[in-house]
């Protein structure tokens, strides 16, 4: 799978892993990851900035996400007034484009026919330093984001997710929803966003990922041509120093809104992405919640108490949450479902899991890894989360890491992390009000 690295005067070859090569642009420190793959004549081009809602303080919550929107309003060169808006230029050639913001990162991506890769490179290089932040654009985009906020508020599970995270984290910025608090979206200023942009949007705080059907040397030429003259950040990007204090007791948060059925989410404090215990927690999450033979499916969904149950570990830069969510079926109380979850966890804490369960989980992860390489965009999406967590090789080494997890490791992390004093329980309690349809 290993290739001979490209020798290019503008780049330093760093390393390769799992078929992905890492280069560093000498002039400004921009990292470039490349995975040539000729299955289809398309390329995924993605830039990941190492900034997310983790980097926001009170008053500027939602700034990363707001800025993500403003990046599509463009620059002097790529602007709707000239018929060259980012969407116009890229969608015209059939590109699938968008951007996302999360706790630790912001990514902009395009999946496009290979002949048009240059367009995506030009746009990302230009808007890295030249975004306009026009006041009129800012005003119209603010109401767009407020509508996005309202859409999220319509969804019970999103309400519950925000309630659990903001209750579980009282000091660390994972407390804030990525979209921000409504009043911050309403009040953020152009200067506030500009300051944010000037602090974080630099080549040495970003990683490019290029996956698909492209020629390596020519592509490095292209990247150098468009990014090479951008200077490195004038000052080091500020570190996030706040650490979440240890949770000393169980927390309970209730969301009451008009609705039909209840939902439940329990978050246990979990370690950062690269902590070895996170690998064991990943396997434990699969044993608990992946597939019809998982323990929670059998105890909750199969017996009709829940419509759905899921378990996940947030692999983030800083410690996050191991969380369990359940959509309750009619007639089943939150407390009853919580008791079942507690008994399932206790059983694992006391007796561990079986080798058959571990093997099944690892086989699922192995297949997922292969499926995840089907298509350039699928690879980019997974690579993005590894980059955000702090090391892109988390993607290429993941399978090896989880395969080393032993039965004992799993029992130990269940005992260490899934304890009531580190738990935050969120209950979504619907207050029934049936909609009425009126025709005129």
């Amino acid at each position: 799978m290993e290739r001979t690295p490209v020798t290019h005067p503008a780049f330093l070859f760093e390393e390769q892993s799992g078929g992905i090569e890492s280069y560093r642009l000498k002039s400004n420190g921009l990292r470039v990851l490349m995975l040539p793959e000729t299955t289809a004549p398309v390329v995924a081009f993605m830039i990941t900035y190492h900034v997310g809602s983790r980097n926001e303080g009170v008053g500027l919550t939602g700034a990363t996400h707001f800025l993500e929107h403003m990046m599509f309003k463009g620059t002097a060169r790529f602007h709707k007034k000239q018929g060259t808006s980012v969407f116009n230029v890229l969608q015209r050639v059939g590109a699938r484009i968008n951007a996302t913001t999360w706790f630790d990162r912001t990514n902009y991506y395009a999946l496009l026919p290979k002949a048009h890769l240059i367009k995506a490179v030009e746009i990302e290089a230009d808007r890295m330093r030249n975004v306009l932040l026009d006041p009129e654009d800012l005003a119209s985009e603010r109401t767009v984001i407020l509508n996005e906020f309202d859409r999220g508020e319509n969804e019970p599970i999103r309400n519950l997710f925000h309630a659990v995270w903001s209750t579980a984290f009282v000091a660390h910025s994972y407390h804030h929803p990525t979209i921000g608090w409504r009043s911050d979206i309403e009040n953020v200023t152009r200067e506030g966003l500009r300051h944010f942009y000037e602090t974080y949007y630099w080549p040495d705080n970003a990683t490019l990922s290029i996956i698909g059907d492209f020629e390596r040397n020519a592509t490095l030429d292209l990247v150098n041509q468009h990014f090479g003259d951008i200077p490195a950040a004038p000052a080091p990007v500020p570190e996030v120093g706040t650490r979440e204090p240890q949770q000393l007791g169980e927390r309970l948060v209730t969301v009451r809104k008009a609705g039909q059925l209840g939902a439940l989410m329990q978050g246990y404090k979990s370690p950062r992405a690269f902590h070895p215990d996170t690998d064991a927690l990943d396997v434990l999450a699969m044993v608990l919640g992946s597939g019809k033979n998982s323990r929670l499916y059998r105890k909750l969904t199969d017996v009709g108490m829940t419509a759905q149950v899921g378990v996940s570990v947030s692999r983030l830069r800083d410690p996050g949450l191991f969380y369990i969510y359940a959509l309750l079926n009619p007639g089943h109380a939150h407390e009853t479902v919580e008791e079942v979850i507690e008994s399932v966890i206790q059983e694992i804490q006391e007796q561990g899991i079986t080798e058959a369960e571990r093997t099944r989980a690892l086989n699922q992860l192995k297949a997922q890894e292969a499926f995840g390489r089907d298509g350039a965009f699928a690879v980019a999406a997974q690579l993005n989360e590894a980059i955000a967590a702090g090391d892109w090789k988390l993607y290429t080494t993941y399978l090896g890491r989880v395969q080393r997890v032993s039965l004992n490791d799993i029992q130990q992390v269940a005992q260490r992390y899934l304890v009531p004093r580190h738990r935050t329980t969120g209950r979504y309690i619907p207050e029934v009000a049936n909609p009425e349809v009126e025709t005129t």
Partner: protein, 434 residues
């Protein structure tokens, strides 16, 4: 069987097209490593406008709850130990299935799929659990502004026996309450079979291995005797405005739509598809550029051709999400963009740009094994030749401005648009005429 030329890049040449027993089997080998994706379907012919559509959904939901030979956990164990995915769903008159597995595991997973389709256990206790789960799904749907608005619009546009009709959620709950386990067993006996059976496999294929597996597990599957029973016409009635108030839902889903007297194989389909794409097909289309980008009134606005098949017509719809305090402003702005577009028509430049967009998107959509399997499957379901995947882009490129204008004039009528609003509505607005 068509020839399989490795040198050709044309799907018409590369896809192996076989008849294996009752199954039309399409196979496409790609250079992806280890992964195989597949999609397939058969036609069940439920009697639309009766409980049979719900019975089809219920029966499909019970397929993975055990078979006459193995219980649900044993079957799940086979799949989960291989990390394979298998899913079933009901779409219109079809039962569709899809899967993904590593190359060497495909025969075993195909065996599970065939067993679940042909010999499900359909036990009474699993029936009750599935009913409870579906009931919960309906209750959640009652809480979803998008689902409620979409269903209300379809009830305005289609008669009850049309496959695109959407039964109201309270009526679905009532029907679900009255279903009996025996009716599911009877439905399976009379509507599950190899009628119009299609299977498409794409990826790192062992062709002989798959042909053998399909022959072994589907070769003897008999067709059922049910006949098609549905209305293909549209409901013709003056446009209405429906308002569905939801407390606590600050975002209002607004839908506009009217029926289209067009089927997928009509000559004007591609020109009309482009006409709609220019109006609201993507971020750079007119609706998004004006109502979102310029006026800042919405996070999302789209227009689309919906539910158009080769066997029945569908409808045109425009969907916009609006915060309740900007509702009327957003509705007015949306209609203004639509009216201007219909009156003026697109420019040459717009058409050329969107032709490139649609062609490029098509290419990008075929970049994964799942995307290819889906495109080949739905193409076969429509009765189109495999080579349509090669001729689609030239067909798009050949569309003229004149054809697009003809399609607009013939099929889009802003004055005929029905309107549905679901969410927090301004006080007293429920009684406003439309």
């Amino acid at each position: 069987m068509s020839t399989n030329s490795q040198a050709s890049t044309r799907y018409g040449d590369r896809v192996i097209d076989l008849q294996v027993g009752p199954c039309r089997l399409l196979l496409l080998k790609t250079s992806v490593q280890s992964v195989v994706s597949w999609e397939g379907s058969f036609i069940a012919h439920p009697n639309f406008g009766s409980d049979e559509e719900l019975l089809l959904r219920m029966t499909t939901a019970l397929l993975d709850k055990g078979t006459q030979h193995r219980d649900r956990f044993v079957l799940a164990d086979v799949l989960e130990n291989k990390g394979a995915h298998l899913s079933f769903s009901a779409h219109g008159p079809f039962v569709e299935f899809s899967g993904q597995a590593l190359r060497d595991d495909v025969p075993d997973v195909v065996a599970v799929m065939a067993e679940q389709l042909q010999a499900p256990r359909l036990e009474a206790d699993e029936f009750e659990k599935t009913r409870a789960r579906m009931m919960a799904g309906f209750q959640r749907a009652l809480d979803d502004t998008g689902i409620q608005a979409g269903g209300a619009l379809r009830r305005e546009l289609y008669p009850e026996a049309h496959p695109n009709y959407s039964t109201s959620t309270p009526a679905s709950i009532k029907s679900l309450e009255s279903l009996e386990p025996e009716s599911v067993r009877t439905f399976h006996n009379s509507h599950f079979g190899s009628n119009e059976l299609i299977l498409v496999f794409v990826g790192d294929l062992d062709v002989d291995q798959i042909v053998q597996a399909v022959q072994l597990h589907f070769g003897g599957w008999e067709p059922h005797l049910a006949q098609a029973s549905y209305a293909s016409g549209l409901k013709m009635q003056p446009p209405s405005t429906l308002e569905i108030p939801f407390p606590d839902k600050a975002n209002v889903d607004v839908l506009f739509g009217h029926g289209l007297s067009m089927m997928r194989q009509d000559d004007l389909f591609v020109p009309l598809y482009l006409a709609n794409h220019i109006l609201g097909g993507n971020f750079s289309a007119r609706l998004m550029a004006t109502v979102r980008d310029e006026l800042g009134l919405t996070y999302g606005i789209r227009s689309g051709l919906a539910g158009i098949r080769t066997w029945h017509p569908g409808h045109w719809q425009i969907k916009v999400t609006l915060s309740h305090d900007r509702l009327q402003e957003g509705v007015d702005a949306t209609l203004e963009v639509v009216n201007t577009y219909i009156t003026e028509g697109p420019s040459d430049t717009e058409l050329e740009n969107h032709k490139t967009t649609v062609s490029g998107s098509f290419q990008v959509g075929l970049a994964t094994t799942e995307g290819l399997a889906g495109a080949l499957h739905h193409n076969a379901q429509r009765g189109f030749p495999t080579s349509y995947l090669d001729t689609y882009v030239p067909e798009v490129q050949a569309v003229t401005l004149l054809q697009v204008r003809e399609a607009i004039n013939k099929h889009f009528n802003p004055e005929g648009l029905h309107q549905v609003r679901a969410g927090v509505l301004p006080s007293g607005s429920q009684h406003r005429g439309g």
